[in-house]
Symmetry: C2
């Protein structure tokens, strides 16, 4: 395994396979280092410990995302069946590992929102200050999220001993230095990889054009609360859950496309602070949208008091407002980006291959 920088000369004459192998070797190595740490972390803590994800789990999630993204974007140079299987297994691990930290973040987000809305600090009083429903709603959310998290923890614990995970680890071990490449990988790196990275960026741009970006960039338009997008008629009677899910879906898809474009650019030796930032904005969008669903679900708990329900209504609207704020942030930043992205990929073909950066896992 090597993740030492390639020399400039080697880089200039490198094949696409060299570059991809080098990246996969580095990421698979990072995976294999992070996996036992993550397993140890999950095993060592009870289901209700406060601080996750620990470093091992976070690193593992980062490498899993990067390898999966790389196999997707540059898929045409890999053996198809192998790449497809690998992506399926990586997605399984991602969903498994992301669940518990996701609940921890959601808990922090929602209890933080509630504390902020019901806070009575002289410098930051909230509209629910002193409301009798606030402690009850807090206890309800805390209880439900802790339960969800404990369940997620148990299923991770179980799967970490599974044959499926061992098989994936073996697959990653084999990947170090030995990615199953097709003949196309023998072409010079810029000629093979740049068009595929450009395609990832083009898909991103095209998807962004489908979003209501002009509307999103006008603040306080009510996009998160009142003016949800049209629900396809085939889905039948519109309820709020369906409408919200349909409204959020294209933004969730954008998040995936931004990550893929980020990782594709990394392979081409480019990084983009703008894309990193958009990734963060869409991450906030996702977490606020998910948190809003949790609150709406909690409000349907039988036998809660009206005061509790009232507070949950305020928190639900607050999280939809966060959704709207994230869309605004995205809508404001986006318009400057597509030309910039094209620009990076229009660089003279041999430039930018001068080094294979140390593996990023953030």
């Amino acid at each position: 395994m090597t993740d030492a920088p390639m020399t400039a000369q080697a880089a200039a004459t490198a094949t696409a396979g060299d570059i991809l192998s080098s990246h996969l070797t580095a990421q698979a190595g990072a995976f294999l280092r992070a996996l036992p740490l993550a397993v140890g972390e999950v095993g060592a803590r009870p289901g209700t410990a406060a601080v996750v994800p620990a470093a091992g789990t976070a690193d593992l999630l980062g490498t899993v995302r990067r390898i999966g993204g790389l196999l997707h974007t540059f898929g045409s140079v890999f053996e198809q069946a192998w790449a497809q299987e690998s992506r399926t297994e990586l997605r399984w691990l991602l969903n498994l590992l992301a669940l518990e930290p996701g609940y921890v973040r959601r808990s922090a987000r929602l209890l933080g929102a509630l504390d902020s809305l019901s806070g009575s600090d002289p410098d930051g009083t909230g509209m629910l200050a002193g409301h009798t429903g606030a402690p009850k709603a807090r206890a309800l959310l805390d209880r439900q999220l802790t339960l969800a998290r404990t369940r997620a923890h148990s299923s991770v614990l179980q799967e970490l001993r599974s044959a499926r995970l061992h098989a994936l680890a073996d697959r990653m071990t084999l990947l170090v230095g030995e990615a199953p490449l097709l003949e196309a990988a023998g072409g010079r790196a810029p000629a093979v990889l740049l068009p595929q990275a450009a395609a990832a960026v083009a898909v991103l741009s095209a998807s962004a054009q489908q979003l209501p970006l002009r509307r999103a960039a006008t603040p306080y338009g009510g996009d998160g609360l009142r003016r949800l997008g049209a629900v396809p008629a085939a889905r039948g009677a519109v309820d709020a859950d369906t409408a919200l899910a349909a409204d959020d879906a294209p933004w969730a898809r954008m998040r995936i496309l931004v990550k893929r474009a980020r990782y594709a650019l990394e392979v081409c030796g480019r990084t983009s602070a703008e894309l990193d930032e958009l990734d963060g904005v869409l991450g906030r969008h996702q977490e606020a949208a998910d948190a809003a669903v949790t609150v709406a679900t909690a409000a349907r708990t039988p036998r809660i008091t009206p005061a509790t329900a009232y507070v949950l209504g305020v928190v639900h609207a607050d999280q939809r407002l966060e959704v709207e704020a994230a869309r605004y942030a995205f809508g404001r930043r986006w318009p400057d980006l597509p030309p910039g992205l094209d620009g990076w990929l229009d660089l003279p073909a041999a430039e930018g291959w001068g080094h294979s950066p140390a593996p990023r896992t953030a």
Copy 2:
């Protein structure tokens, strides 16, 4: 009574008293024309008719505000006791007449918000679409606002026959052509009136500097929901109602100052589309803040269902969001204004007195 335009020559040599008398005569005339219409309108409709304010009431409110503002801003040239008494009586009528139309607008605002939040139009689905609490919350708000409005209607009906209103009408009749001016009113109009109008604008500017305008001009800062301003410590334990009232108060005061500045500029022959617009923005602020209080009160109704309370929580947050949106609109528009306002009052002193515009009542 005359509201014919003064000739340019007459205007150039007019005294402050001439200008003020001309304005007061025009407005008092408008008052006396609108009063019987307004009385007829109130008397003719039952307490639950849908469309108020009718034209007579709206005109009457406009003239009452203008006369009161004029007596305040240019108070030094009027007999003190008379001006003070007149303002007190005008404020009494304003509060009396504004109450019922206020409830009608609040009802339209809140039921409209609820319909929008629970709407299931394909093009504008709301986050409460299909929620079982929505019809109940709507019925509750409708019932409480109709009751408040009926009470307001009864007290207007009663007071419209009162000796107090007749005395005020007599006072306005005497005002036509005969405002009780002091000697200071004999000075030339620009020399006397411009400094007083400038003082009204200066008070407006100074008050605006006290508002968190920079924060307000950053969208989605949470100013309406989470980050209410500090409550003076002397008020004891902070509850949400106190905190919200304290947070909204300086904006309500701004609205009064904007109106005073508008009316003072009108007397000086200037109009300002920007101030008219800010007046509208602060009007929306006030109505959203008042509507939010109504929802919070409705949510304390005993024996409502949790679903109803949940919907009221969402609507409450929605109205606080409208408050925040109005502050944003104000914060964005304000910074360009103070120099502009100063500019108008720095015009050569004799200009702009060329005509006394027909009385505005909007």
